[in-house]
């Protein structure tokens, strides 16, 4: 998986918190979409829809072999080509081979997190193929050499001034801060690319096995362009992004567009599953669907985490998460950020490698409430923490912090031995004295404990313990419980 930034979770989080622009954007986003989605779910006439969709997602997973085989069969019947890629590398190799065979010089991409997950751009670029992102936000990110920070709003961390300067620099237009003017400049530049590209590379929001069609949502129309004008279309699809029937498709789609942007439908929903017919003047001559596992079957196999595959990548959980709302998307260092990213990134790319993610979330439960398919992300975050605390063979996870584990073992020893415990508390009272500041709190500790007080104050050990206070005040005159006469006692 592409995790390019060297900065750690902590550093990126601090940078996010320090960025006034990001804080403003995130707050606006959460106020509008987070609150909006909660209101939308509450007001929905069909209150069972979310459970129904979740149930159908889980049922599909239980029969995923059958559903995927049916999808492949029906895409092939339309003249499309289907490739099953077990690994990211496999998906990259296949796509590259298609591009080379068709002598592709320019690829236009529609916003696809899967393409980031398998990290296909460098492979194409190495072959001298130009890769152009076409979603406006992604395009801006690409021009800036930056990384997206939200599933739906990739450049939310940039302001109009930064984008204006970027466009002056890269597109050679006169400086402006006016979003419509900037959008029109990008429209013109990208139209040229979209109309002349040889290959369109997209993700897949939902494939329908029964019809053999994939469907893609967009508001801008870039994905329609990328699947209509180039000679070749390759769609990269995570293997869980499938529904069995059109009836399921309809409900899942409606939850997706509502969760993502409170829309009854996105502006465009394109359906395709094969090359254009002979008398069709546009539409691809070749259509390839790449179905990708890349670690998903391991998630499927674990009953504890299978549920996360039901995610429809709407991004709603980002719009309500208090942690994402402060630190922004870059800290997650993954194509998938926010609460969903904190669960799925470690599962796809290594729990130890991304240990900070599940520990950073607060387990407040907001993401579960807002999730259109009611994914229990907090439960899965806790499960990930459990794996980190104790290690897990199934997930090749080693105990994350053996020192911490040892500390807790010592702690257990202490608290179960009152004499030892009280002695140490007494000792602590003396040791802490030089650290207590004017405010009566400990503002700075030394050595390995320094981290604790880096961002907060610690109350000192009290002069007398609760236990002592209790003894002084109440021991001896312990109030006796009033006796209640019961019939049996009579």
């Amino acid at each position: 998986m592409k995790t390019s930034s060297p900065s750690t979770y902590r550093e990126a989080a601090v940078a996010g918190i320090d960025s006034a622009q990001l804080q403003k954007s995130l707050q606006g986003l959460q106020n509008r979409f987070g609150k909006g989605a909660m209101e939308l779910w509450a007001g929905m006439a069909d209150q069972e829809m979310r459970d129904r969709v979740k149930e159908s997602r889980m049922k599909t997973f239980e029969h995923l072999d059958i559903v995927l085989a049916e999808l492949a069969k029906n895409v092939r019947a339309r003249g499309g080509q289907v490739h099953f890629a077990v690994t990211a590398q496999d998906a990259v190799n296949y796509t590259l081979a298609v591009a080379k065979k068709n002598e592709v010089k320019r690829v236009v991409k529609g916003k696809s997190m899967t393409s980031m997950e398998v990290d296909i751009d460098p492979a194409l670029e190495q072959e001298g193929i130009e890769v152009v992102e076409t979603d406006l936000g992604e395009y801006i990110i690409q021009l800036a050499g930056d990384r997206p920070s939200h599933i739906i709003a990739p450049c939310i961390h940039l302001n109009r001034n930064q984008i204006g300067r970027l466009f002056t620099d890269k597109l050679g237009i006169d400086f402006t801060e006016d979003p419509p003017t900037l959008t029109m400049a990008a429209r013109k530049a990208l139209r040229e690319k979209l109309l002349t590209a040889d290959m369109g590379l997209t993700g897949c929001n939902l494939a329908c096995a029964e019809t053999g069609m994939i469907s893609l949502v967009s508001n801008e129309g870039n994905i329609r362009m990328a699947t209509t004008m180039p000679r070749v279309v390759v769609a990269l699809m995570g293997m869980e992004r499938v529904v069995a029937t059109m009836a399921e498709h309809r409900e899942t789609l409606q939850l997706l567009t509502r969760g993502a942007a409170l829309q009854k439908l996105s502006t465009y929903v394109s359906f395709l599953g094969g090359p254009a017919s002979k008398d069709d003047p546009d539409g691809p001559r070749e259509f390839h669907l790449v179905i990708i596992d890349n670690g998903r079957s391991r998630i499927l196999a674990d009953p504890e985490f299978r549920e996360v595959l039901a995610c429809i990548r709407c991004g709603a959980c980002l719009n309500i998460c208090p942690v994402y709302g402060k630190i922004g998307g870059h800290a997650y260092n993954s194509p998938y950020c926010g609460p969903i990213g904190a669960v799925v990134t470690p599962l796809l790319d290594g729990i130890n490698k991304h240990a900070d993610l599940c520990k950073g979330e607060t387990l407040c439960g907001a993401c579960k409430d807002i999730c259109p398919v009611k994914n229990d992300l907090p439960r899965m975050l806790s499960a990930l923490r459990h794996k980190l605390a104790y290690g897990s063979d199934r997930w090749n996870t080693r105990q994350h912090n053996p020192a911490e584990a040892r500390a807790f073992r010592v702690w257990r020893l202490l608290v179960t031995r009152p004499f030892l415990y009280r002695t140490l508390i007494g000792l602590g009272r003396i040791v802490q004295r030089p650290f207590i500041g004017k405010e009566g709190t400990i503002r700075k500790m030394a050595g390995i404990a320094a981290g604790w007080t880096a961002g907060r104050d610690l109350p000192p050990v009290a002069r007398r313990t609760f236990h002592q206070l209790w003894k002084e005040k109440y021991a001896g005159n312990r109030p006796t419980a009033p006796t209640i006469e019961t019939p049996e006692e009579k």
Binding site: R32, I66, T134, T228
Partner: protein, 251 residues
């Protein structure tokens, strides 16, 4: 079966706790692909009274407005033609200096007789006949594309454009302005009804649901129309196809 497909599906079998070389098939799980019973819905859609249809148009109007779609009820083909001519006259091309208009090869569009309506100004009208090999070029040159979608959905102000011979996908996409002609009887209430009708269509090459003009809010969350697709969408409601036109109501 290709080798990687075999391994891929075997991994799924393993993950599901099945024997690796399991060959279970969809026939064993009929409920997985069970078709919904849509007779009731079909009956409802096909037997709407004029009044119910008017209500749908009103619902469409409200929802279209919210999305920035220009809705024009037309009482006749001539009426529709006048609306289209006015749009063509009053708008300027975005990417060129000449006015080209491209039309789907569809009877409702042909009925506008646009070819003979511009005698004084320079407007070139093209039709997407499937035998024409210059369609791509003509489409890119056009600033307005006119189509007649198969279905309209009132609940979400959506039109559903099916790709058919003579009705390619780029006509409603590449030009700056999209004009869609929709007959009253093609308007349904919601997506459930629309999906039911789509099922009746049989296998389709490709299709697109269009709900309003292209838009983006990627720069500081400010909504801008016209990102990559048409920046302006007009929806003209024509009288029902069968029988005499519906009595005009509050339109």
């Amino acid at each position: 079966m290709m080798e990687n497909e075999y391994f891929f599906l075997r991994n799924i079998h393993k993950a599901l706790g099945l024997a690796p070389d399991n060959d279970r098939s969809k026939e064993q799980y009929p409920e997985l692909f069970a078709a919904p019973d849509t007779r009731k819905i079909l009956h409802r859609v096909r037997n709407r009274t004029a009044e119910e249809r008017n209500e749908l148009v009103e619902l469409l109007r409200t929802n279209a407005q919210a999305l920035g779609i220009h809705l024009h009820p037309a009482e006749s083909e001539a009426d529709a033609a006048a609306i289209v001519v006015e749009i063509i006259r009053s708008r300027e091309p975005e990417f060129s200096h000449t006015k080209h208009v491209i039309l789907h090869d569809h009877p409702d569009v042909a009925a506008l007789q646009l070819w003979k309506r511009f005698t004084r100004e320079a407007v070139t009208v093209h039709t997407t006949f499937s035998s024409d090999h210059e369609l791509r070029e003509k489409t890119i040159a056009s600033f307005i594309g006119i189509t007649a979608p198969a279905i309209g959905v009132a609940e979400s102000a959506t039109v559903i454009q099916l790709t058919r011979p003579g009705q390619p996908r780029s006509t409603s996409l590449v030009p700056s302005i999209h004009i869609a002609l929709l007959r009253r009887d093609k308007l349904v209430a919601d997506l459930e009804e629309a999906y039911t009708l789509l099922r009746e269509e049989g296998r389709l090459d490709s299709m697109v649901f269009i709900s309003g003009p292209s838009k983006t809010a990627d720069i500081e969350a400010q909504m801008v129309h016209g990102a990559h697709g048409p920046r302006e969408v007009h929806l003209i409601i024509l009288p029902s196809s069968a029988g005499p036109p519906m009595a005009a109501t509050g339109d």
